[in-house]
């Protein structure tokens, strides 16, 4: 795959990922031309386009157009399914995704895309594995980030020790499962004690 673009019905770019080195000027030109061409197409028309020497595969989901550029010998239908799989992933992550989710959390959308497609090739086709990877990264960051603050405000030293224990184990490569535990557990503890967590 050469690049992927997400844009709205108004032609506003929402996401862009380039897998081939191009100058900014070229990127802009390609984006402008493609957005125009794709938006001009009628709904009943074919999802594929021949554009320059590339094939464009696009699909509309609600108000968003997903648009991929592939080489001529690539399989168009499977590209269409790549788009669909990406939408499924977004949907699962955000919980019935809408355009606003992508507008305001575009960096998250990028993270998901990077776990799914890498360097223009499909990296992981299992939905579960992609989301697991994203959640692990999300969670570990949250805990790491707020750990000092927790220790300042936490009242029960027992929990702190527990947290330490978990964190230490987490760095010992089993972080996935255990960090989920500590995160949930700390949240739960806070709720019990009536304090608000300030992440």
């Amino acid at each position: 795959m050469q690049f992927m673009l997400l844009f709205s019905r108004q032609g506003k770019l929402r996401l862009q990922k380039w897998y081939v080195p191009l100058s900014d000027k070229e990127k802009k030109k390609i984006t402008r031309e493609l957005v125009q061409t794709v938006l001009a197409r009628k709904p009943k028309m074919c999802s594929f386009l021949e554009w320059r020497d590339l094939k464009i595969v696009y699909k509309r989901y609600a108000s968003l157009y997903f648009c991929c550029a592939i080489e001529d010998q690539d399989n168009e239908l499977i590209t269409l399914e790549i788009i669909h799989r990406y939408v499924e992933l977004l949907d699962k992550y955000f919980g019935s995704v809408c355009e606003l989710d992508i507008i305001f959390n575009f960096e998250k959308a990028y993270f998901i895309l990077d776990e799914f497609l890498l360097g223009g090739e499909v990296q992981e086709t299992s939905k579960k594995n992609v989301l697991k990877a994203i959640e692990q990264a999300d969670l570990l960051q949250e805990v790491n980030f707020s750990f000092t603050r927790i220790s300042q405000i936490l009242f029960n030293p027992c929990i702190i020790t527990g947290a330490y224990l978990f964190l230490q184990r987490s760095s010992a490569e089993q972080f996935g499962y255990f960090t989920v535990n500590i995160d949930v557990y700390v949240q739960w503890k806070f709720q019990q004690s009536g304090q608000k967590i300030c992440w």
């Binding site: 897998y19 999802s47 239908l77 919980g95 990296q123 299992s126 490569e173 557990y185």
Partner: protein, 1134 residues
């Protein structure tokens, strides 16, 4: 303590269930951070109404951001926020390069959360050639060594997306280690990173091929799937190297199709479709032209076809890939049948996407099975009028493939209609090229149609179309076909149509079209008997005054006027024209006017200069410029310095001055090389022509073709003069055969299926009838059981097309005959049937050789690559197909020698042969003469000879039998003998490297006829070292060159104890790679070599504690890499 743990664990399931799905562990941070600054920015931008306001707002935002990011007090957390906003600004199209460096800093310094955003920003902002990327390398190395998995993952992700090519050695060992990591996600990403490296620098990962195999056998499906990306690429490059893996791929596919994978990998209840498609593609590449490998995969392909049943896009995707694979590998009839049925499913589907793919598949298979098009002809006709232009376009592509002599007019008409509607440049270029190709293939059909279609192409295609199109058209027109009368009619019609086009005032025509018109008018306007040349000149004159005409076109027009004026006694318009432009502000025009004026004063000279209808005549070029001898002698006698060629002057200058040489070093070598070759001859020719015609640009094109002709025949201009043309029947037949069209080319006979369809027409409506009619015109001549009756004409056409080659070839052939018969003149009495008849011949036409992917190494046809390629393009109608053939090893100067030892009697031929090289080659280093392939009749031996200017492949063909062999044909090497009844013969070819790569396979086959046709296939491997020659230079020169080269590669190699010192290692390299050792001082040494013909490469090496640090520099970017690989191999062997 422990009860805390226990409580936590027991409470977990319930807790997880309580979570709000929207704000789940991952979704928690999701849902619009409404209060954040990014949210504010986004909201205020959406609220704006005009682009101008947006610009203002972004500018303000950027100023704020700039201040924030460069302030030292900014916390990393704030920085992270700023980065996200910067990404947003970039997405809107506002460049924010000031933030790039901060993105890198964030990736370096931040904690996980910030690092992640930093890496993301870097991957979005920078591209792989960006200089700032170098600053990231250290961070990546650090993170790769981290114990935190998330950090390692992030580093691997960024490496797989963008990484500077020259820094790969810095991270490569780390990533290799990760291939053994216990976590599958890390292994997968490491494989993906190696895939990226393979794409940008294949030679650097060549040594880890074993590890790729391990990845292929990984227990995790993801890792295995990732390794397939690498295998697909490698197999694309060299399928023959991976045939042994076919069974593994087949068994993997079997498992996938059989549903043995974890259910996670299912997509809409289809098991791992991505994996399946990847595997199918790999199998297709492996099975291509290889019956034995294909055999292995028939079962699994059948299984895949059978399993893909559900009516979902994803199954169609797999089916499509299956069909493609089935048609790519060696065919098996029942699979083909099933695949054809599948294509039918696509084509007939109401879903437009599937229909499109059906057409695409049809286009792909149509050449193998034209009957399929007949089955679906009605659908194709419908698609031709489809409202979606993409469908239309694909249908035209399909029709283009099935064109023959009868349907060409209809198809071209359809293409023209489409062309007129399309506005996109790329489509226009593509379509005009195709139309022109078709039209030129069948110009004999209808003269008027030919001219009119080309007119349409020129006026629509305008100035964007490929420059070859007008050139080819003019060449066809000038060379004509065999029938003089028809040619004249054609030219006359062209002249008339252009005149009528020019009649209308103020119509705009593209420049190219005007140039074509003016050339034709200038050359052939004399054909109009009744017309007044004055009228034509007036029209041209009017054009000259138009503002839209560019100065290049004006030059063409002026040439036309000049040519015409040579045929007229005097003309008022010309006088007026001369007067007008003698005072023109445009210096070129003024010069033309003055030339014309002077020429008009000397009509005799002018008639000589512009003979009638002589555009195809060879222009004799005195390459030695002997007519200047007197002038030179005079100059010398007056004390002028004798002439030194450019490179000699440069060398002298180099040795005198100690200044830096700013000229690219390779240049001087090129001129050196070609002094006897192409440019050497061309430049004086250009000079002499130039002085006669003063850079007449209309003649330039012509001149070019003349040069081209000269190139092929240069050896034939001896003292005897021009050797007479000779008809070469066998050659011609051979040429017509390979053209695929003639197998489906038919005439007046309509094949049976079509007859049936026509009988059905009766009951159909008018509209249907029309469509049927269209169908019958379009699909006429397809199908296998039709007879060929147009072959005569077609044959004629082929001959015309190759006229030029014909002359060359026959001349070459006759010269070969000269050589061949010489040593044999005393023989006829003793062995009467030993009379040799050599006919070297360019094996023209469309050979399907280049389809086989085994040819990685590209070789060029003659000395100068770029020129030869354009020549080929100009020379041949079939340039598209031909260009692909240029990837073959070929040489226009085939030399066939008659070795002295073939005189001995035939009885001795069973004894072991004493093969030896001809004298002129024996002095050069060469490899051992080894048997290449053999049958009971014929044995082929080969050997490589490394001469100074090229690598030659010498093939010995020995006849083991006593009976004479007829028509021995070396297919890929462009040589063929009409008879090899002699005992031993050999031929040599110059093999050249067009693209730098480490290894290439040259495959070919030899076929001969003795009762039956027999083929012997063989393949030879050429490595880069075959094309490397030592380059002598001094240490000073080395230093100078070293600084002027920009492409370098460094690598440390381990030395085995046996290799000991530097000089031993260097000597090994010298022997194996033919390097020239410039100097060795202590533990440092320098060496130089050149890649043929003259691309220099310098090597600096240093030993340090059992490691050999190699540092290559060259003017060619790919060369150091490949050389390094060769060195690695040499060192390993040693």
């Amino acid at each position: 303590m422990s009860d805390v743990v226990e409580r936590t664990l027991s409470a977990l399931p319930g807790l997880l269930g309580q979570q709000d799905p929207g704000a789940g562990p991952g979704g928690g941070p999701g849902r619009v951070s409404a209060t954040s600054r990014l949210g504010g920015l986004i909201r205020s931008i959406t609220a704006l109404s005009s682009k101008h306001e947006e610009e203002k707002l972004i500018q303000q935002e950027q100023t704020n951001l700039k201040a924030t990011v460069s302030a030292p007090t900014t916390t990393l957390r704030l920085m992270k926020e700023c980065m996200v906003r910067l990404i947003y600004c970039e997405m809107l199209g506002y460049e924010s390069s000031f933030g790039y460096i901060h993105a890198i800093k964030l990736a370096q310094q931040g904690n996980l959360l910030e690092k992640r955003v930093g890496y993301l920003a870097v991957s979005l902002f920078l591209h792989e050639n960006h200089e700032l990327l170098l600053l990231l390398v250290n961070t990546v190395v650090k993170d790769l060594q981290s114990t935190n998995l998330v950090e390692v993952c992030m580093a691997l992700t960024v490496v797989s997306q963008i990484f500077p090519r020259e820094m790969i050695p810095a991270v490569l060992p780390l990533i290799e280690d990760k291939l053994q990591h216990s976590k599958e996600i890390i292994r997968r990403k490491a494989v993906q990173a190696l895939y990226k490296f393979y794409l940008i620098a294949p030679n650097q990962v060549q040594h880890i091929h074993d590890k790729f195999r391990k990845a292929l056998c990984d227990r995790d499906v993801g890792v295995m799937a990732a390794s397939l990306h690498i295998y697909l690429q490698m197999i694309k490059k060299n399928a023959s190297g991976y045939k042994d893996l076919t069974e593994s791929f087949v068994s993997i596919l079997k498992q996938v199709v059989g549903g043995k994978l974890p259910i996670d990998f299912n997509y809409h209840s289809v098991p791992a479709p991505w994996l399946q498609i990847q595997l199918l593609r790999i199998l297709g590449l492996l099975g291509k032209d290889d019956p034995r490998t294909s055999e292995l995969m028939y079962d699994v392909l059948d299984e895949s076809l059978r399993r893909a049943e559900i009516n979902h896009n994803i199954t169609y995707a797999i089916l499509f890939e299956c069909v493609q694979t089935i048609y790519t590998i060696c065919p098996k009839s029942d699979l083909l049948e099933k695949a054809a049925k599948c294509i039918g499913k696509f084509v007939l589907s109401p879903k437009i996407n599937l229909k499109y793919l059906g057409l695409k598949a049809l286009t792909y298979v149509i050449q193998q099975d034209p009957n399929l098009a007949l089955q679906h002809q009605m659908t194709i006709i419908e698609c031709l009028d489809h409202p979606d232009p993409i469908i239309k376009r694909e249908t035209l592509e399909l029709l283009y493939r099935i064109t023959n002599g009868q349907n060409v007019t209809v198809i071209v008409q359809k293409m023209l209609d489409y062309l007129r509607q399309s506005k996109e440049e790329y489509t226009i270029i593509n379509l005009t090229g195709k139309i022109a190709e078709l039209v030129e293939k069948y110009p004999f059909l209808l003269l008027k149609w030919f001219i009119q279609t080309m007119n349409a192409v020129f006026s629509v295609g305008g100035d964007v179309m490929h420059p070859d199109i007008p050139n080819n058209f003019l060449r066809l027109l000038a060379e004509g076909f065999d029938d003089e009368k028809e040619d004249e009619e054609l030219r006359l019609y062209a002249v008339q149509s252009y005149l009528s086009l020019l009649e209308e005032e103020d119509t705009f025509y593209p420049q190219k079209f005007l140039q074509v018109m003016s050339w034709v008018l200038g050359e052939y306007s004399y054909l109009i008997n009744d017309g007044d040349p004055e009228v034509i000149i007036t029209r041209l004159h009017r054009l000259l005054k138009q503002t839209f005409v560019t100065s290049e076109t004006k030059a063409w027009i002026m040439t036309a006027v000049t040519k015409m004026s040579s045929r007229m006694s005097c003309s008022k318009t010309i006088d007026k024209l001369i007067q007008e432009f003698s005072t023109s502000l445009d210096t070129c025009m003024r010069q033309y006017a003055f030339e014309l004026k002077h020429l008009c004063e000397n009509k005799e000279l002018m008639k000589n200069l512009f003979p009638l209808d002589a555009s195809c005549d060879e222009i004799m070029v005195d390459a030695s410029l002997s007519f200047l001898d007197g002038f030179v002698a005079e100059g010398l006698s007056c004390g002028a310095a004798p002439y030194k060629p450019h490179h000699q002057r440069q060398e002298e200058k180099l040795s005198q001055e100690k200044a830096l040489n700013f000229e690219p070093y390779g240049l001087s070598f090129t001129s050196n090389m070609s002094s006897s070759g192409f440019t050497g001859r061309q430049s004086p020719a250009g000079l002499s022509l130039g002085s006669d015609m003063s850079g007449n640009s209309a003649e330039l094109g012509q001149k070019e073709t003349n040069c081209l002709k000269l190139d092929g025949v240069r050896k034939l201009w001896g003292k005897e003069g021009y050797l007479p043309k000779k008809e070469n029947k066998t050659g011609k037949e051979d040429k017509t055969q390979p053209v695929p069209q003639d197998s489906i080319l038919t005439a007046h006979v309509v094949d049976p299926p079509l007859m049936q369809s026509e009988q059905q027409v009766v009951s159909l409506s008018e509209e249907e009838k029309e469509k049927q009619q269209l169908a019958s015109t379009l699909f006429v001549g397809l199908g296998s059981n039709s007879t060929i009756s147009l072959v005569g004409d077609f044959y004629k056409l082929q001959v015309t097309k190759f006229t030029k080659y014909e002359t060359q070839n026959s001349e070459e052939a006759s010269s070969f005959q000269n050589i061949a018969t010489l040593p044999f003149s005393p023989l006829p009495d003793t062995t009467p049937n030993n009379k040799e008849n050599f006919q070297g011949n360019e094996h023209l036409g469309l050979r399907k050789i280049s389809l086989s992917s085994s040819e990685v190494l590209e070789a060029s046809v003659s000395f100068e690559t770029s020129q030869s390629v354009t020549e080929v393009g100009l020379d041949e109608q079939l340039s598209n197909c031909r260009l692909s053939t240029s990837s073959l090893f070929a040489d226009s100067n085939i030399e066939v020698f008659q070795p002295p030892q073939n005189v001995p009697d035939i009885v001795a031929n069973k004894a072991p042969l004493s093969l030896c090289l001809p004298e002129e080659l024996a002095g050069h280093p060469h490899s051992e003469i080894v048997e290449l392939c053999s049958s009971d009749i014929l044995t082929v031996y080969w050997c490589k000879v490394w001469t100074d200017d090229c690598s030659r492949l010498v093939l010995f063909v020995a006849n083991n039998s006593t009976s004479p062999l007829k028509t021995v044909n070396l297919v890929n090497l462009n040589i063929f003998y009409t008879s090899v009844n002699f005992f031993l013969s050999f031929c040599q070819k110059c093999v050249q490297l067009e693209k730098v790569c480490t290894e290439g396979v040259l495959s070919g086959s030899i076929s001969y006829h003795l009762d039956t046709d027999t083929h012997l296939e063989f393949s030879l491997t050429f490595s880069l070292s075959d094309f490397i020659r030592p380059m002598k230079m001094t240490t000073e020169d080395f230093g100078r060159l070293w600084l002027s080269f920009s492409n370098d590669v460094k690598q440390n190699l381990k030395m085995s104890p046996s290799q000991g010192s530097l000089s031993v290692a260097l000597n090994a390299l010298k022997q194996k790679l033919k390097l020239h050792i410039v100097e060795i001082i202590g533990n440092e040494g320098i060496a130089a070599c050149r890649l043929l013909p003259s691309v220099p490469c310098l090597l600096h090496c240093r030993t340090h504690a059992r490691t050999l640090a190699l540092w290559f520099r060259s003017s060619c970017s790919a060369l150091p890499d490949s050389l390094l690989y060769q060195c690695q191999k040499v060192m390993e062997e040693a």
